[in-house]
Subunit: 281 residues, 2 copies
C-alpha cells in the first residue's frame, strides 16, 4: 500500500461516502486538502470542507484551482457518473482533451479512468489511491462479522471469482451472484445495487442462500477505482435472500465498516474478506 | 438439422409462442401430436389442441399418457420456469427421479435440461429439437430486415460474442449489450427482457447505439433450449435506444418472424443473423 504523500491533497469527489471520509480524515489530521466537486453532483457535506465546484468541460480552470491551492497530488474518490460532455462549454484545455477523453470513454471504465489519470499526471499532479489516505478501507483475509461462510458458500464464492476472472479481459464485471453453483446475476454497467435488486425480484427465490462476490477487475488501476461495499450492499443482499457477501481481501473497500458489519450480523449474513487462495486466484 | 421423425409427437410445452407454433404446424400437416402442459402454466390456446395438463411431481403419470397417445418422440418447447418441486406430491417414478433432478437443477440450465432429456430417453422417448418441426425458426447468415449494421455495430457484435464465449464454461450468458466497445449488460438468470429494461433505465442513455447480441451457449444442447427473440425483444431493444440486434445464425430462433422483422424495420433497428466468421467464432 503506497503511503500518503505530504502537501495539499486535491480530492476529486464523486458520489458515495469515500470523498467525505477522506476529507474528514485530512481535517482530523490537520493536513491540507481541497475537495473538487462537479456541477450537478455537489452534495451538502461539502459545505463543511474547503471545496470548489467545477465543470468537466473546463479542466483548464480545474487544474489552475488545484495549483492555486498548492496541490501536488490528487485522489479520485467516489462513484463518478460518466459525464455527458458539452463541448461547446469547453475551455482551452478542455477542447484539447475532448478527443482523448471521448475515446477513452468508449473503451470502458478502466480505460476512461486510466486516461483521466494520465491527463492529471501530464499536468504534473501525482495520482494516489484512496487507500493511501484511509488504509483501513480494505481488509486482510478473514471473516469480518459474526457469521462464517459454510462449504457451499465458499464453493459459490470460488465459482463467482472464476466467472469474474473470465470477464477480466473485457473490462466488465466487478460482482456476481452465485447460488448453489449457479450464476444468477452478473454486474456490468448497472452497479451492484441494481444487481441485488434484480436478485430480490427473481421469480422463485432461486437466489436464496446465494453469495454476492465482489472483486477488483484483473489489472484494474486501484488508484482511482476501488470497488466498494457498504451498509446498503448488505441490506440489499439480505433482501435478495443471500447467505452472505464475499469480497476480495485487500482489494474491495468496506465503507462505514462498523455499520456494515453490524448490518450483516443483524441480518444473519456472513461478510467474508476472501484471500486469493480461497478465490482460486 | 435433424428431420422430424414419424409417429405421434409429444409437445412438452413451456411459455412463449414456440409450443403453439409447433402444435399449429402439426395440425396443419395433419400429423398426430399431444401437447403436455403443466399445472399452473396451462394457457388458453391449448383448448384448440389435443392436450393434457400434468404435474412435475408425477412423471409416471406423464410417461403413461405419452405412451397411451402413441408418442415415440417429444419436443421441449417454450420457456420452462424452474419448478418448485413438492416431493410429497410425487408419484412412484417421481420419487425415484427427485434426487437426480434436484442435483441437475443446482448445476445450471443446461445441466437441468440435459438431465431431463436423459430421463425421457431412458423411458424410451426420442428427444428432438423444435427446429426439426419448424425449420424456418433459425436463419442462415444475413440481414433479416431493411436496415444493415454499420462497422461499429459489427465490432460491437464481435465483442459481445467474445464475452459470451468467455462465459460459456460457466453455463451462463445468452445475451449481452455492447455499445461503442463497452459492455453495458450481461444476461444471467433474469432473461433478455429484463436485461433490455435495465439498458433502457441506464442513467445517461449510454446504451444508445448499442447492440444486443444473442447466441447459443457453447455446448448448449439445442434439442430443448433454443435461444429465441421475437417482436417484444425488438421493441425492448428500441426502447433501450439500441441500433440493432445480432443473433447467431442457425442457432437463435426468430419467433413470429414477419412481425419481428416489421417491428425492426419500423423502429429503424437492424436485425442481423450473424455467421460464425462475423462473430469471430
Amino acid at each position: 500500500m503506497p503511503g500518503a504523500p505530504d502537501g495539499t491533497l486535491g480530492i476529486i469527489a464523486g458520489r458515495d461516502l469515500l470523498p467525505r471520509l477522506i476529507a474528514e480524515r485530512r481535517r482530523a489530521e490537520g493536513r491540507p486538502y481541497l475537495v473538487i466537486a462537479f456541477a450537478g453532483a455537489a452534495e451538502p457535506w461539502l459545505r463543511e470542507h474547503p471545496h470548489e465546484v467545477h465543470e468537466f468541460e473546463k479542466p483548464g480552470r480545474l487544474f489552475a484551482a488545484l495549483r492555486r491551492a498548492g496541490c501536488s497530488h490528487v485522489v479520485f474518490a467516489g462513484t463518478m457518473e460518466r459525464p455527458r460532455l458539452r463541448p461547446w462549454r469547453a475551455d482551452g484545455r478542455g477542447l484539447g482533451l475532448i478527443g482523448p477523453v471521448m475515446g477513452a470513454m468508449a473503451r470502458g471504465d478502466d480505460s476512461l479512468l486510466s486516461g483521466l489519470a494520465r491527463i492529471f499526471e501530464a499536468e504534473g499532479f501525482g495520482v494516489v489511491g484512496a487507500d493511501a489516505y484511509l488504509p483501513e478501507l480494505t481488509s486482510p483475509p478473514g471473516v469480518l462479522g459474526r457469521h462464517a461462510p459454510g462449504p457451499q458458500s465458499r464453493a459459490d464464492a470460488a465459482r463467482g471469482a472464476s466467472i469474474l476472472s473470465a470477464l477480466g479481459p473485457f473490462d466488465v464485471g466487478q460482482a456476481v451472484v452465485v447460488a448453489a453453483g449457479r450464476c444468477l446475476g452478473i454486474e456490468a454497467a448497472e452497479g451492484t445495487d441494481v444487481l441485488l435488486a434484480r436478485m430480490a425480484a427473481l421469480a422463485d427465490a432461486q437466489a436464496t442462500g446465494g453469495v454476492l462476490v465482489k472483486m477488483a477487475k484483473p489489472g484494474q488501476d486501484r488508484r482511482f477505482d476501488l470497488p466498494a461495499i457498504g451498509p446498503r450492499t448488505v441490506e440489499a443482499a439480505a433482501q435478495a435472500g443471500l447467505a452472505g457477501v464475499a469480497i476480495e481481501a485487500g482489494a474491495v473497500c468496506v465503507l462505514d465498516r462498523s455499520t456494515t458489519v453490524r448490518a450483516a450480523d443483524t441480518a444473519g449474513l456472513f461478510l467474508w474478506s476472501a484471500g486469493a487462495d480461497a478465490l482460486g486466484r
